[in-house]
Symmetry: C2
Subunit: 192 residues, 2 copies
Amino acid sequence: MTAVTIFGTGSMANAIAGVLSSGGADVSHISHEQTGSAEITGDIVVLAVPYPAVDGILAQYGDQLAGRTVVDITNPLNFETFDSLVVPPDSSAAAGIQARLPESKVLKAFNTTFAGTLAAGTVGDLTTTVLVAGDDAEAKSTLVGLVEKGGLSAVDAGALSRARELESIGFLQLTLAAGEKISWTGGFGLVR
Amino acid sequence: MTAVTIFGTGSMANAIAGVLSSGGADVSHISHEQTGSAEITGDIVVLAVPYPAVDGILAQYGDQLAGRTVVDITNPLNFETFDSLVVPPDSSAAAGIQARLPESKVLKAFNTTFAGTLAAGTVGDLTTTVLVAGDDAEAKSTLVGLVEKGGLSAVDAGALSRARELESIGFLQLTLAAGEKISWTGGFGLVR
């Protein structure tokens, strides 16, 4: 059984826990209060926290994260302006995390799906699709398998460099929901 | 009746012509062979040509495009590597075109929908959604109205700066189709 440690206890953390548990994973959480004291036990570690909280986790857990799969779900928006990302335009939050954790296998996933569509398993009449980018084929395949066993669709979106495009999709989708062009239970679905 | 001039006669040009004609527009084309000699008659001008062909059209038609709405549908990929865009990472093809045509109202649209889903009007069971970004509210509203009257959905995706995100979506969607993760009649649908 794959062990998964999820940083965070919010709606995204809980929705991801639901999917991965349904997929057969043994899921535990490290809450904000436990961060710094609790140990990581999972082979897969999901950073289901707001982007500004990632830095502290990497600083405190860098050594423990070595050798593990680290899943970045963040949308690194400038939430004051809702008009740009705070990461360099030619890079991504995920690429920055990989640079900080050279011995971890970083994946970008879950940032293009609202919590509601992860929990429901559907977006409209479509099965919710999780897009997964990363450079480690085995880590990516394991996550894709867990998500699919959990009842959702999952698609290998390419190398970790594609995280930039996934973050663009997440960004646009957030602006559309904030602007009431779509609902928080809607968003982009993928038709194969 | 809104007059539309479409540069190009390929599958995207024809699919867009079908949608806008159904929406009540009077559509004419300028083919590759006619480019340079034919005059622009439309209030809305659609550049339904590959990105490398845009430069020549702007050079030949810059004066005629002043005052008109110019719709950029391009996905400015590096088609040799399929691994990056050829526009600056902090900008977009559409922003570059607007900079070249300061007296035109540039919109980004139709780059996130494959020709097949424009022609069919559906992606899977969803009505195909055209995402439209631009800084001129009236120009954007007119195009959105034509597309909706033409039987598709259209969503105001924000300012022209959002073209960067639309080009990221178009890029990722093309890599997914080229990698056979999705078909050329599939892609991203938008659930409201």
